[in-house]
């Protein structure tokens, strides 16, 4: 049986040749993403701004969005944001919190449901969510903290396991991926809520997974080929891990793709963000996470004690332990 090879044997692409272009591209995309978030803004869900959100399903034909908007306006609790779920006959109706006391907020949620049921008797409310301003502020804060801690924590772990240059590289790459994902949310105007934070954290974890595989190979090659220049060495490492990078990315894209198309529309945004993150992550693993190491002057001396290096200087050095931090 002949087995399928996603990547041909013994590739020798000069990825590092594009490092300036890739870095410029990434930098450009990060700036664009930040600009997009600043200009278009994120479509923040009630998790982070407070308010009510009702999911309404129409068993018969769905009325025009304008009619729904008008019906909500008549309830008199402010302007609604209405979003359609995929091809489904379901919409999410979101309104801001009324100012003032919390009891009013509670009633507003009930009014919204009652008003919609009056205007569209065949409609069914699938879910009702109310988040007060205070809780939404807390959720926003803890969300931001957890994201920052994840990025920092993982970078520190890499610094400990590898070298500081690698930690910097990892942090830079994470920032790149997180910024681009924010840009993705800004451009698609998918609702940004708690689930999106979970998606971001997953992207952070996954992306590092990839970085580590490449960095691990670089570390190994640095010890193995001590005379080799850093650029060809990085190229070699990327090429050697290319088959793995592609295979894993394809598996995960496949799994998430199925979930995106066939899965419940409630987690559409969540899956879409992860899919995007994995896609960007694959690009980063190949082109993004290594140039930093060139600029920060990583070399064989980063891992092997100088004295030993001086004596042996050969092709292969016995590894004493895994971490090999000097």
């Amino acid at each position: 049986m002949r087995l399928l090879k996603l990547v041909p044997d013994d590739t020798n692409y000069d990825f590092l040749k594009w490092r300036k272009l890739a870095s410029f591209m990434s930098f450009f995309l990060v700036v664009v993403s930040i600009a997009l978030v600043a200009v278009k803004g994120l479509n923040l869900g009630i998790d982070f701004v407070g308010g009510q959100s009702v999911r309404v399903e129409f068993t018969q034909e769905m009325p025009p969005i304008e009619d729904i908007r008008e019906a909500v306006r008549e309830i008199g609790i402010g302007e609604a944001t209405i979003q359609q779920f995929g091809s489904d006959s379901a919409v999410s109706i979101r309104t801001a919190l009324p100012d003032g006391d919390k009891a009013a907020a509670e009633r507003a949620g009930q009014q919204l449901v009652a008003g919609i049921q009056k205007a569209f008797p065949t409609a069914k409310t699938g879910s009702v969510e109310t988040v007060s301003g205070k809780v939404s502020e807390e959720l926003l804060r803890t969300g931001a903290i957890s994201l920052a801690l994840a990025m920092l924590g993982i970078s520190i772990y890499i610094w400990i396991r590898f070298e500081w240059q690698f930690g910097v590289g990892a942090l830079g790459r994470l920032f790149h991926e997180v910024a681009l994902t924010f840009g993705f949310f800004a451009i698609t105007q998918l609702q940004f809520d708690l689930n999106s934070v979970a998606a971001l954290l997953t992207i952070v974890g996954y992306s590092l997974n990839d970085t580590i595989v490449v960095y691990d190979r670089i570390r190994e090659n640095l010890k193995k080929y001590r005379k080799m220049d850093i650029v060809p060495l990085l190229n070699l490492s990327i090429n050697e891990t290319l088959a793995r990078t592609v295979m894993t990315s394809v598996s995960i894209l496949l799994a998430l793709g199925v979930l995106l198309v066939m899965g419940p529309d409630v987690i559409f945004g969540f899956t879409a963000a992860m899919l995007f993150g994995v896609f960007v992550g694959t690009y980063s693993s190949i082109l993004m996470s290594t140039p930093v190491l060139v600029w920060l002057k990583v070399g064989p001396h980063s891992f092997v004690p100088r004295t030993v290096a001086g004596i042996e200087g050969g092709e292969r050095v016995e590894r004493k332990d895994d971490g090999a931090v000097v």
Binding site: S146, L194, G205, V258, G263, I267, D322
Partner: protein, 537 residues
């Protein structure tokens, strides 16, 4: 690597077998599950977004609690100064006030100042571990005593109130007869209530939000309605508004401040019907102390009116036609059967020590939840099959071993979740799918490494050996970073995200076991029995 000792093989097999056994209950329909013996009844719980139901986050009104604390202390001061043994024992006080967050009053006779302090001291208690008392007692201007609550005292008051509130909410929700509600304290001043399978949370909110402080008080017949409307009432009386929709015309009643009987003296409350009008009412029974007070007061006040006050609002103010003996009464108002029932439950469970407001609510209908499960599970199965096929096509026999390990991995995740009674949420299903994708990563790493080593001209045994050892390092590091991300999600996330983090963490741990250890067992066995001279990978 090839000398895979027998005890290891047995150990791994036992773990895998246990995984399958413990995951079985989660797949069984409810009926079959319930017929299992008790020890086997551990299954994966479905989160509210899958099972449908309500999640409520209630926050205590701490300002309200502080106010109650002050009012209670004011009462304590009055009683303490009155003394136990008759009028001779009294300490005359004046200018009692609870303004500015503390109690202050004047002791008229300076000679009694020490005695007054002494009595108050015995009314305060130690609070917390610091040796602080719950109230500070200070003397200012040589005649005035000022009581201020300490921070330890306040913290303890909040903690006590929250414990009581949790218990009371627990009683109320359980009285609704829903299945498996979860009521837990969260943080300092919050309680989380989760009730699965509930379609309409309005009744639930009505029930748990009510403080249910019930008081029976006399209507002040001496008050002049015109004066009262202008806000002037006789000493010892106050204006109490009617509850929404109650009271025939009058917006308020003037009531005596003194409480005749309060909710604490109830022994039972039940929804029933008024024999005359057929309206839903709440029938209550007093304890013996309450009964005799009620009988005495009603006997003395025939022809007058008393008021039933719930949470500071008058429900009704009926006339006393004859003395009410026997210790039972009916609370009437414009009730529906449901609201009368809710009030009866609230009264039975006792008054909440502090007002609670809903600050977060998430309700998912069971139909939407069911829809999510069906679509999520179907997508999960198709995604898994797709990944399995890819692995088989790319890595052949080794892909097959990885696939087998992946299937075991699914069982292990379910088994561990069941053992810990963990909750599966919708993002959790996504986590499951992601885990499937990530679990193969370990095998991809190993298999690619084996390919490489073979290309370098190593013999099969050595290539496989190196493939596993060299890849393990990266696999370990990579998974640690994922655990860091998942742990943060668990700490900071709420509800569904916690569910995602749980699945992710369990999945990472089990996938390292199955993808590395279990596949190695298969491969080692195959290599040993077949001694291949070349490997197709």
């Amino acid at each position: 690597m090839l000398d895979f000792p027998r005890w290891k093989t047995i150990g791994i097999s036992i773990i895998l077998l246990l995984g399958i056994l413990f995951s079985i209950p989660s797949f069984l329909p409810t009926k079959a599950f319930e017929s299992l013996p008790g020890f086997a009844q551990a299954k994966v719980n479905l989160g509210l977004d899958l099972a449908g139901g309500s999640h409520l986050l209630l926050e205590a009104d701490i300002a309200d609690l502080r106010k109650t604390q002050l009012t209670n202390m004011e009462k304590t001061v009055r009683t303490a100064m009155r003394g136990d043994s008759g009028p001779d024992d009294d300490i005359a006080i004046g200018e009692l006030s609870n303004a500015g967050g503390g109690i202050s009053f004047l002791v008229r006779d300076q000679a009694q100042l020490d005695e007054a302090r002494e009595r108050l001291f015995s009314e305060t208690q130690g609070a917390g571990l610091t040796g602080q008392r719950d109230w500070n007692i200070n003397v200012v201007d040589s005649q005035r005593i000022v009581l201020t609550p300490t921070s330890a005292g306040q913290a303890q008051a909040v903690a006590n109130a929250m414990d009581t509130a949790r218990d009371i909410i627990d009683k109320r929700v359980n009285a609704l007869g829903t299945r498996e509600p979860t009521i837990i304290r969260e943080g300092n001043d919050r309680v989380v209530v989760q009730v699965p399978g509930l379609q309409d949370p309005a009744a639930l909110k009505e029930l748990i939000g009510k403080t249910a402080r019930l008081e029976f008080r006399m209507v002040d017949t001496n008050a002049d309605p015109a004066e009262a409307a202008a806000g002037r009432v006789p000493v010892g009386s106050e204006i109490v508004p009617y509850a929404e929709g109650e009271g025939s015309g009058a917006p308020f009643e003037v009531l005596r401040r003194q409480v005749m009987i309060s909710g604490e003296q109830l022994i039972n409350a039940q929804q029933s019907y008024d024999p005359q009008s057929g309206q839903p009412v709440v029938s209550i029974r007093f304890d013996s102390g309450g009964s005799s007070t009620f009988a005495k007061v009603t006997a003395q006040n025939v022809g007058k009116r008393f008021a039933m006050v719930l949470d500071g609002k008058v429900l009704s103010a009926p006339s006393i036609n004859e003395p009410i003996l026997g210790g039972s009464a009916q609370i009437s108002g414009s009730f529906s059967v449901a609201s009368a029932n809710a009030l009866a439950i609230s009264l039975r469970s006792g008054a909440l020590p502090v007002k609670m407001t809903v600050v977060e609510e998430r309700t998912v209908s069971p139909e939407l939840g069911q829809d999510s499960i069906e679509k999520g599970v179907l997508a999960g199965i198709i995604a898994t099959v797709a990944v399995l096929t890819l692995m088989l096509v790319v890595y052949g026999r080794f892909g097959g071993y990885a696939n087998l390990a992946l299937v075991f991995n699914v069982f292990l995740i379910i088994a561990i979740m069941a053992a810990f009674n963990a909750t599966l949420t919708l993002p959790g299903i996504a986590g499951f799918v992601l885990t499937v994708g990530a679990a193969v990563d370990a095998n991809v790493l190993i298999n690619e490494r084996i390919r490489e080593e073979l290309k370098r001209g190593r013999r099969p045994f050595q290539a496989v050996e190196l493939g596993y050892t060299e890849a393990s390092r990266a696999i370990f590091d990579a998974n640690v970073t994922n655990v860091i991300a998942a742990a943060l999600m668990f700490w900071f996330g709420s509800g569904p995200i916690k569910g995602f983090a749980v699945v992710l963490t369990i999945g990472i741990v089990t996938s390292v076991f199955t993808a590395v250890t279990v596949t190695r067992m298969f491969v080692a066995h195959w290599l040993r029995t077949n001694r291949p001279t070349s490997i197709n990978i």
